[in-house]
């Protein structure tokens, strides 16, 4: 493999990895606060992709408007899921909320089949983002650079929000001790809703960029990226936002590079992620950057 080929794969991995990272942030924030694996998160991501598809391809709205509509629509869906399926179960055993999450995931996938039809649909990419240019022999499209750039900007903004604003302080406090935070006069349900809103908005951004990179949408497109992003969140250390991004990037590199160097293994591509998950859970269950979660006795 020459250096050009390698750089090509490198950029690819960076793009895929930062998308995984964006989705993983939604998982990690919700898990950090509620200790709930939001199984429906991958499907929220799928909704983001569909909304942008409908706005721009079906209704021919300008791209900027379409993206805004998709993000707002997806965020509303995320809030709705929290309100209907998770909030009634706050005091229930955690496993109940998990089963509810599975139900929601199933519901969103199938309602998408009902409303959008199960047929995969092609997304028309804006030509501006697809004009290839080359830097010292490496052919690139603007989209390939845009995806990691936007992702890193979002993560920076998010970190600022978590560590420099009052809402961020409340979030960190809830993940530490939910009851005490409530006693301090924080409106816990509102902060949790805000967490879901941010997670869903990020999933929408990831969904939009995913639809641009792999130009088609279908109702079950969220399952695999969802699982993998969750794996990325666990790998990076669940509860940690930089960890989620790092986990996403690692997963992107593992997937792209293993197939690039060993093309024979391409059929096993999806297995690598799960293997990584099992290994990290066995070796270091807290992940790369996670804090130790202690069992209360």
């Amino acid at each position: 493999m020459d250096i050009n080929m390698f750089m090509q794969h490198f950029i690819n991995a960076l793009g895929l990895g930062s998308l995984y990272g964006l989705i993983a942030i939604g998982y990690t924030m919700v898990y950090g606060i509620l200790r709930l694996i939001n199984f429906a998160h991958g499907d929220i991501f799928m909704l983001g992709a569909y909304f942008v598809f409908f706005a721009t391809v079906q209704f021919k709205l300008p791209w900027m408007l379409g993206v805004a509509i998709a993000i707002i629509g997806t965020t509303l869906c995320g809030l709705l899921v929290d309100r209907i399926a998770y909030r009634p179960l706050r005091s229930a055993p955690r496993i109940s909320a998990l089963i509810s999450a599975i139900g929601v995931s199933f519901f969103i996938e199938n309602i998408a089949v009902v409303i959008f039809s199960g047929m995969p649909r092609p997304v028309v990419q804006p030509p501006l983002l697809m004009e290839a240019f080359s830097i010292s022999g490496i052919r690139l499209v603007p989209l390939a650079l845009m995806v990691p750039a936007i992702s890193f900007m979002i993560v920076t903004a998010l970190l600022w929000m978590i560590y420099r604003t009052k809402s961020g302080l409340a979030m960190r406090s809830i993940s530490f001790d939910i009851e005490t935070t409530r006693l301090m006069g924080v409106s816990v349900d509102r902060i949790i809703a805000l967490t879901f809103a941010i997670g869903s908005a990020l999933a929408a951004v990831a969904g939009i960029m995913w639809a641009l990179r792999y130009p088609r949408v279908e109702p079950f497109m969220g399952i695999m990226p969802g699982f993998k992003a969750f794996i990325a969140a666990v790998f990076g250390g669940i509860g940690s936002i930089p960890g989620a991004m790092l986990g996403g990037l690692s997963l992107g590199f593992v997937e792209i590079m293993s197939v690039a160097f060993f093309p024979k293994l391409s059929g096993y591509r999806d297995a690598f992620a799960f293997l990584l998950l099992v290994v990290i859970l066995l070796v270091k269950p807290t992940g790369l950057m996670g804090e130790k979660l202690e069992d209360k006795i």
């Binding site: 200790r35 709930l36 694996i37 209907i84 399926a85 009634p88 179960l89 229930a92 955690r94 496993i95 109940s96 998990l98 089963i99 509810s100 599975i102 139900g103 929601v104 199933f106 519901f107 996938e109 199938n110 309602i111 998408a112 089949v113 009902v114 039809s117 199960g118 109702p219 399952i223 699982f227 969750f230 794996i231 666990v234 059929g267 096993y268 999806d270 297995a271 799960f274 293997l275 998950l277 099992v278 859970l281 066995l282 269950p285 069992d295 006795i297």
Partner: protein
């Protein structure tokens, strides 16, 4: 029933059980001659789903281990059994992507032996997986087992010389007759009941309810959990094998995570930790899923044509799952079990009114 002492009661209960089992067997034996093939198939599927539900309930409801890997163990069972009972000539014709490996070609076993082999193979993988994974608790365990079942599915898709890859296996001899499926269910019910009523059952419940307390009582909790997990996997393997025999074709797509979700639904609706619940859940969910097919078929009412809506079946199914978990978390049976005493006491109460 105040006139009966406990010995008499036991005798009465056993007599009732044997009698009703025999009556059920006669019904099942006669069923194929009186009911059409489609309904027989659904009745059969109920038994298989009950076996699968029970085995998942053993792991989750009774053992307290949240496992999402059941479809993987079903897949192992289904493939082992199918490879053992399909004849070499058929196999020769089936493998077109890659040549079949010779030892797979020549493996042969009678049906019952293949069922046991399916269970043993699934249990073997169960042990292999559980020893590292059961160190995790709660939802991490669920995710790790889900990961394993996905890995198994991907391996099956790619190991073409052994499994025929994405094409799957066709023409599996339909050995899973009504009597066979219900026979397996009866054996399983008997074994699980005996097990859970024994002291071992108490230990399992103790480990589920409070692992730390159980540990301080000197119970090797890890060993108990591995054992229960393995037993559940055995059931999953047998259930998967029966499923393959009923449908007569299997392919890796059959064993996606959705398969585990419907089993989870059976267990949750029936009641976590209740064997009766799993059977009731299997009856309800299986019939409901079949009955709901009508929403996906076009309906004509008078001159009104309602086109079928694909996907609607699963929408209703998932709404039901969410509703059950929000409004009736303990399911239909809770943790209660069916018993003759309960039935007769209730009947007497009803009569007295």
């Amino acid at each position: 029933m105040s006139g009966l002492n406990s010995g008499d009661k036991k005798l009465r209960n056993n007599a009732l059980t044997i009698f009703s089992a025999a009556a059920l067997a006669v019904c099942l034996w006669l069923a194929p001659t009186f009911i059409d093939a489609y309904k027989v198939r659904i009745i059969n599927l109920i038994a298989i789903n009950a076996i699968l539900g029970l085995s998942l309930n053993l792991i989750y409801g009774m053992g307290g281990m949240f496992s999402l890997g059941h479809s993987g163990f079903m897949a192992i069972g289904a493939y082992v059994s199918a490879i053992l009972i399909i004849t070499p000539d058929q196999k020769q014709l089936m493998w077109i992507l890659d040549p079949i490996s010779p030892w797979v070609m020549n493996l042969q076993a009678p049906f019952l032996l293949s069922l046991i082999a399916a269970g043993v193979a699934a249990a073997f993988f169960g042990v292999l997986i559980s020893i590292p994974v059961l160190r995790l608790g709660g939802d991490y365990l669920g995710i790790a087992t889900l990961g394993f079942s996905e890995i198994i599915r991907i391996l099956i898709t790619n190991l073409t010389p052994i499994t025929n890859g994405p094409l799957g296996l066709k023409g599996i001899p339909p050995h899973a007759s009504l009597l066979m499926s219900y026979g397996c269910l009866a054996v399983m019910l008997l074994c699980v009941t005996r097990l859970m009523r024994s002291n071992f059952g108490n230990v399992v419940r103790a480990v589920r309810d409070d692992e730390v307390a159980a540990k301080t009582m000197g119970i090797d909790t890890f060993r108990i959990r591995v054992l229960v997990f393995t037993l559940g996997c055995f059931g999953g393997g047998v259930g998967g094998a029966l499923m393959g025999n009923l449908i007569t074709t299997i392919d890796p797509k059959m064993f996606m995570i959705t398969q585990t979700y419907s089993l989870l639904m059976i267990v949750v609706v029936g009641g976590l930790g209740s064997m009766t619940g799993s059977v009731v859940g299997a009856i309800l969910i299986t019939t409901m899923l079949e009955w709901l097919r009508f929403v996906e078929n076009p309906i004509t009412i008078g001159s009104l044509n309602i086109p079928g809506i694909p996907g609607m079946r699963m929408v209703i199914f998932s709404v039901l799952l969410i509703a059950v978990i929000i409004f009736r978390r303990e399911g239909i049976m809770g943790m209660r079990e069916f018993s003759w005493g309960w039935l007769l006491r209730d009947a007497k109460k009803g009569g007295a009114k």
